[in-house]
């Protein structure tokens, strides 16, 4: 990749609330026995907190099933959190009822992983892009068409007239994803949520799509939450990285800090799995540290990584959950190794 890594934006003015603020978010799916009767919970997201300032891009990385998509769905208001809050411009997204949720959704865009599945197969491109505008209450057909054409140009599908009447199956994967992106930004959102937007595309189009997303982010001053498996795309795309493990964010830091001085043993293991961080290829997060990913129904006690952790502090990590420790400027990790005060070990 020939793109330069973006510089981290300086912390925004303290007084203004961040665009998005996630507070102790828990997304638990109830497990039902015989269709009713509670048998437990899948703790897909467990006590996650972070702030996202306007215009900033963050990446969430983590192995499959660690709860990334659940976090996204909660942020989009698609699943109701078990507990915790999601504040958008200081407002709890669930506090405003239907109307509040509707207004919130007008300001959020969603880019999904599978572009073909994300587009209704029976709708033309024009109709697909018209839906969010109709739902935004734009009654004038001409105005809608103008906006559709403008957004198609923005996602570099030109001439737009050629695509208006096409159906998703007539488009290539890259074009489909451009339509998905166009749909996500057509209402000029403030926040864009992208759940592995390029993982299902050919390697050749990935770069183009990421460039496009980056460009759109900069032009619109969009805040972006970007979920990925691919650390190389993270490096280039976002300012901060959150590392997720078994429903928790275990390390939050700038791209530079994560890559150059990872602190959490899981992050280190992740990076170790990448032979050459700068190399163009073979940087996928496919290889995971040894051991099984933990069950989210009965997560391990204490630190959830302890069964696989090479640097485990016996008698502590398996008993008590680690606190979030600031190990550097704007670099947080949840690990006992860096805690200033450790409770006495029991074993």
């Amino acid at each position: 990749m020939t793109l330069t890594a973006p510089v981290a934006t300086p912390a925004t003015a303290a007084q203004q609330p961040p665009l998005l603020s996630v507070r102790n978010l828990r997304v638990w799916y109830a497990l039902r026995k015989w269709g009713f009767g509670l048998a437990g919970y899948v703790r897909a997201v467990d006590d996650v907190s972070f702030d996202l300032p306007r215009g900033e891009a963050i990446a969430v990385v983590g192995e499959s099933g660690c709860g990334k998509s659940s976090l996204m769905r909660a942020i989009l208001g698609l699943v109701r959190p078990h507990s915790g809050q999601i504040l958008f411009e200081g407002q709890d997204i669930w506090a405003g009822g239907r109307e509040g949720m509707r207004r919130y959704r007008m300001q959020v865009g969603y880019v999904q992983q599978d572009p073909y599945g994300a587009l209704p197969p029976f709708m033309s491109v024009r109709r697909i892009l018209e839906e969010p505008l109709i739902l935004a209450g734009i009654k004038d057909r001409k105005e809608r068409l103008e906006r559709i054409i403008r957004v198609l140009e923005e996602v570099k599908m030109s001439p737009p007239e050629d695509f208006l009447n096409k159906f998703p199956h007539m488009l290539s994967g890259g074009q489909q994803q451009r339509v998905v992106i166009a749909r996500a930004i057509i209402r000029d959102p403030k926040l864009l949520v992208a759940d592995e937007p390029v993982s299902m595309l050919d390697a050749s189009v990935r770069v183009e799509i990421l460039k496009l997303l980056r460009q759109i982010q900069e032009e619109h001053n969009l805040a972006v939450i970007y979920i990925t498996h691919d650390l190389s795309t993270v490096r280039y795309f976002s300012e901060r990285i959150f590392v997720m493990y078994a429903g928790k964010l275990i390390e939050k830091a700038s791209v530079k800090d994560i890559l150059e001085s990872p602190r959490h043993p899981y992050t280190k293991a992740l990076l170790a799995a990448i032979p050459e961080p700068d190399a163009e290829n073979a940087k996928h997060l496919r290889e995971v540290p040894p051991g099984e990913p933990p069950s989210l129904v009965n997560p391990p006690s204490g630190c959830r990584f302890h069964p696989r952790c090479p640097e485990i502090l016996r008698g502590l990590c398996e008993v008590k959950e680690p606190p979030e420790v600031e190990v550097g400027p704007a670099h947080l990790t949840s690990c006992w190794l860096y805690a200033e005060e450790r409770p006495s070990r029991t074993a």
């Binding site: 269709g35 769905r73 989009l76 208001g77 698609l78 949720m101 509707r102 959704r105 007008m106 959020v108 969603y110 999904q112 992983q113 599978d114 599945g117 994300a118 587009l119 209704p120 197969p121 029976f122 839906e131 969010p132 739902l135 935004a136 159906f167 998905v180 749909r183 209402r187």
Partner: protein
């Protein structure tokens, strides 16, 4: 997708044939409804002798003669203004006595005897009714005095088949059709044959008042009639056969569409809202699936109404919670999980919008073939109800023709056409929709093509 299907249909000959039949069928229906409006059809079908009196009873369709060596006669009918009638006018023979002679003549060339001969009279008088003698004159010159009678009514009929005095006079052999002596070369012989030629009927009327008048009409009932024949009430079956088409088509179409659409909506609502809504729909479906439809319909027919509209509503109500709810549900569950639904929620589509604009359009291609295939089954159901005596009380339908045929022992008495034509119409309907439906199924659900 639908446009593509349209193009593909042309590659399926069975679909094209089915479609052509259905289009013809639709054209006939439209023609029928325009040519014989509803009120007219009901009036005709419920009408009695006043409407159908000139038709033979239980006559076969005319085209039946094409398959016969001995041709059956058509009905001959003429009134006293007919050009071939020789009218000698009224003549006063005394103070209070007038006579009026009139002679009908008709050519009879069929190989079989006609069904009956009727003379309809209408007289005007103050006190004393006119008096008529009917004389039958055969081609061989033989004259038979059929009857002498006074004409008292507005509409008085003389029927050879019911003229007891004539039967006695002729010493009609046991079991012989009374028209045979009138038309046979030698009715006493073993095997009487029709005497072909010009027959005449002379009416010698005596009138007793100055302005007394008499009018008459001759009908020689044949044994074939129209393209569809007649039933036991002399009604032309073509009326019911024609009217059966729009009734069956609209009944089948409405029932199948109603059931498919409602089933689809119910399944979509259940899947989308899930929880107790889904559970309730599932349980209702399971209970409904073991309910016997026909006995319920029979009960409704007996206790509530036999009207076609009521039956339609009951059938639809009983069928919407059918097995197809389950198949629809399985498809909707898949659709509900697709990412584009999640996307729609994320940009704020309401529940109803998602159900109607995002889920249902997806399932329509699978619904269309089963809808088309469902049409004939509802047409047959309606016909079965009619055969069970639960047909609509006023509308002429194919099922009601079959019911009449069954009640009157049509097949036992050899009136094959009475059963054949409505059955044929029903069969063609079934075949046409089946051919189209199965082809559509292959077009819309290509995975079946490999099977």
């Amino acid at each position: 997708m639908l446009r593509g299907a349209w193009k593909e249909i042309r590659h399926y000959p069975s679909a094209v044939i089915g479609l052509v039949i259905i289009l013809i069928y639709a054209a006939i229906s439209v023609y029928t409804v325009i040519a014989i409006p509803y009120e007219e059809a009901v009036r005709l079908w419920r009408g009695g002798e006043d409407i159908w009196g000139d038709n033979p009873r239980l006559a076969a369709p005319t085209w039946y003669n094409l398959f016969r060596k001995k041709k059956l006669p058509l009905t001959i009918k003429m009134d006293d203004k007919h050009p071939s009638v020789k009218d000698l006018g009224y003549q006063q023979v005394d103070d209070d006595l007038w006579v009026h002679d009139l002679e009908y003549a008709f050519d009879f060339q069929a190989d079989e005897f006609p069904q009956d001969v009727a003379l309809f009279f209408q007289a005007a008088f103050q006190k004393k009714a006119p008096y008529v003698s009917i004389v039958w004159i055969r081609p061989d010159g033989k004259e038979i005095r059929l009857e002498d009678l006074s004409i008292r009514g507005q509409r008085q009929v003389f029927l050879v088949s019911q003229a007891q005095r004539l039967h006695k006079k002729l010493r009609l052999p046991e079991g012989m059709d009374p028209v045979v002596p009138l038309f046979a070369d030698d009715y006493k012989s073993e095997n009487p044959q029709v005497l072909k030629g010009t027959y005449k009927v002379r009416l010698e009327t005596t009138l007793f008042e100055a302005d007394s008048t008499i009018n008459s009409k001759l009908v020689v009932y044949g044994k074939v009639h129209g393209w569809a024949g007649t039933d036991h009430l002399r009604r032309d079956l073509s009326v019911a056969l024609l009217w059966g088409a729009p009734v069956a088509l609209s009944f089948g179409l409405l029932a199948a569409t109603g059931v498919s659409v409602l089933t689809m909506i119910i399944a979509a609502v259940g899947v989308w809202f899930g929880g107790w809504v889904d559970a309730a729909i599932q349980r209702i479906t399971e209970v409904n699936m073991v309910l016997p439809v026909l006995p319920i319909l029979i009960m409704v027919g007996i206790f509530i109404s036999r009207s076609l509209v009521v039956m339609l509503l009951v059938i639809v109500a009983l069928s919407i919670f059918g097995a197809s709810i389950k198949t629809n549900r399985a498809i909707f569950l898949q659709i509900k999980a697709s990412p584009y639904i999640e996307a729609a929620r994320s940009y704020g589509a309401s529940d109803l919008r998602i159900i109607f604009f995002y889920m249902i359009p997806r399932i329509i291609p699978t619904i269309i073939p089963s809808l088309v295939l469902g049409i004939p089954s509802f047409v047959f159901l309606e016909a079965s109800l009619a055969v069970l005596g639960l047909g609509d009380p006023v509308l002429p339908t194919w099922g009601k023709i079959l019911d009449d045929a069954r009640v009157n022992g049509a097949l036992l008495q050899g009136h094959f056409y009475w059963v054949l034509l409505p059955s044929f119409a029903l069969m063609i309907t079934g075949i046409a929709f089946a051919m189209l439906g199965f082809s559509l199924d292959r077009i819309f659900n290509p995975r079946l093509r490999e099977l």
